[in-house]
């Protein structure tokens, strides 16, 4: 079962050295760190990282983010390169000092909601005490400077996702329309729906640690647990 879950976006700029001299979005980076530390503090037997990608797949547990793919002169990854959503999840786990067992899964942007829910159920059933790290972003069409420019529907879409997360009403996430999410460049849709499938209604309470769109993409950082763990 899922004993705790963390929700983080995966902009590559979570990697501090990719933003150059300016520690851009330090508050976002800190919130993601806090969410992951809270996940570790729940003492899961295994942490499963789930993020969207072009295909659904299981990746080697020693997989890591290839930072150099985003430029700069980063060292090559210590393990096989994995898709960036899951890779950023691994990066956050490493930053938090996690050395325990991990499972790495990607879920396709084309995966229908029912398949996402089923994947979530399988993740929950795979171990007695699973911590879930969900890498997911809201719409990338929140303004004229956003990656996907402006779509007037994005604000309401993201607001509903945030409402569902704050209320730990994760079943509402299962109802998100994949077609609308795709139009709004809300790449987190399949990962949110895995989260919905993995957790039982009202089993967890939510703490939202960050909500904002400094670069036109909706970022939401949250921790789901029986109680907010030590955030130190």
């Amino acid at each position: 079962m899922i004993i705790a879950a963390a929700l983080c976006p995966w902009p590559p700029l979570l990697v501090r050295e990719l933003t150059g001299a300016d520690p851009v979005a330090a508050d976002l980076r800190e919130a993601c760190g806090a969410a992951v530390r809270a996940l570790l503090a729940a003492h899961p037997d295994v942490i499963t990282v789930v993020g969207p990608a072009t295909a659904s797949a299981v990746w080697p547990a020693e997989g890591r983010l290839n930072i150099a793919a985003f430029g700069g002169r980063a060292a090559p990854p210590t393990g096989p390169a994995v898709p960036p959503s899951v890779g950023l999840g691994c990066y956050l786990l490493d930053q938090a000092g996690y050395a325990g067992p991990r499972r790495l899964l990607t879920v396709s942007q084309d995966e229908p909601p029912a398949a996402c829910r089923q994947l979530g159920e399988e993740i929950a059933a795979a171990a007695a005490r699973t911590g879930l790290l969900v890498m997911a972003d809201g719409s990338a069409r929140r303004g004229p400077r956003a990656p996907g420019h402006f779509d007037a529907r994005a604000a309401a879409f993201d607001a509903e996702v945030e409402r569902a997360v704050r209320a730990a009403d994760l079943q509402a996430l299962a109802a998100i329309d994949p077609a609308l999410a795709r139009e709004l460049m809300a790449t987190g849709r399949p990962a949110w729906q895995v989260l919905a499938g993995a957790t039982r209604p009202a089993a967890l309470r939510a703490d939202v640690l960050y909500s904002g769109d400094p670069f036109g993409v909706m970022y939401l950082v949250a921790f789901f647990g029986r109680q907010l763990a030590d955030m130190g």
């Binding site: 902009p11 590559p12 793919a69 985003f70 430029g71 960036p84 990656p147 996907g148 420019h149």
Partner: protein, 306 residues
């Protein structure tokens, strides 16, 4: 519309063994000549000039001015690269074709380039007198090369990653950005030759900022010689772009120094065509590079020679 991701590596037999004479319109440019392409936007919303040449009289004034400053080519575009208000084919034609015809009337020998990704627009501007199609979006419309072949026009084969025209890159990643640039641009150049575009009229362009973050654009600049050694003439479009703005934390109006620094680095490595806003300053930089390389003499040298 094609899927640029399906590009296969170019047939090496189409690649020039060494730098060749570049032919554009009625002009020829030898490998050591450094050629300036001046940007003339027929748009109300381009990032740098913000509509300064939206009206035809202002645009024609700019053509006169850039020629006086030493531009070899004018590059006329009707659609901003950034996302914004839709510009359909008819509107793009309305913005560019009469103007290309007017510039051709005024300057019968000038090399005129058309900045478009649409073959329907390219066909009309070539009929109106354009000599070169500047396809910044990397072969999105596969028929563009056919139009170049039909009209005896040149073609710029650019790298836009896998971006749809007028979209911004979003978390783009490359195992090796220069390898992807070479794969896509050489495939387009090869295909253009097969379709019948004159190989002497084909250029390749890494397209800084297109499908790239700032790190990627800096790396492409640093490794530009890997494009030059293919033998194809390399065009660079650096002018006041975001990778310069991010490097220097400078707004668009504060990027000229950075642009000129990048221009010098690309020229030193062998880039041959420079697409720019500031013609005069670019010409001075290119003349300095040519003189430092020993390819042109100083304009006047008497120091310690008297």
């Amino acid at each position: 519309m094609g899927d640029p991701s399906s590009d296969q590596p170019g047939d090496p037999s189409h690649q020039p063994a060494e730098p060749q004479t570049l032919r554009l319109g009625k002009h020829t440019f030898e490998p050591r000549q450094r050629v300036i392409m001046a940007i003339v936007n027929r748009t109300p919303d381009s990032f740098y000039d913000r509509g300064a040449t939206w009206h035809e009289a202002a645009a024609m004034d700019r053509v006169h001015a850039v020629i006086a400053e030493g531009a070899d080519i004018v590059d006329i575009g009707g659609v901003a690269a950034a996302p914004g208000a839709t510009v359909d084919i008819a509107e793009e034609i309305r913005r560019t074709v009469p103007f290309v015809a007017a510039v051709r009337d005024a300057y019968p020998d000038l090399v005129i380039s058309a900045d478009t990704w649409r073959h329907e627009v390219a066909r009309e501007v070539c009929a109106a007198g354009a000599d070169l199609i500047n396809d910044t979006w990397g072969g999105w419309d596969r028929r563009l090369a056919e139009v170049a072949a039909e009209h005896g026009a040149g073609l710029v084969c650019a790298h836009a990653g896998n971006q749809t025209p007028r979209t911004r890159p979003f978390r783009v990643a490359y195992d090796d950005v220069l390898a992807d640039v070479l794969r896509r641009t050489l495939a387009q150049a090869s295909r253009a030759v097969e379709i019948g575009v004159d190989p002497a009229r084909i250029l390749i362009d890494p397209a800084h900022d297109f499908g790239k973050n700032t790190w990627h654009s800096l790396e492409v600049t640093r490794r530009l010689d890997e494009m030059v050694i293919t033998g194809w003439p390399v065009l660079v479009s650096l002018s006041n772009k975001d990778f310069i703005g991010e490097t220097l934390a400078a707004p668009p109006e504060g990027r000229l120094t950075g642009t000129l620094a990048a221009t010098a680095i690309c020229a030193w490595q062998g880039a041959r065509v420079f697409r720019v806003h500031q013609v005069h300053q670019t010409r001075e930089v290119l003349t300095m590079v040519s003189a430092i390389r020993g390819e042109v003499p100083p304009a006047r040298a008497v120091r310690a020679l008297g």
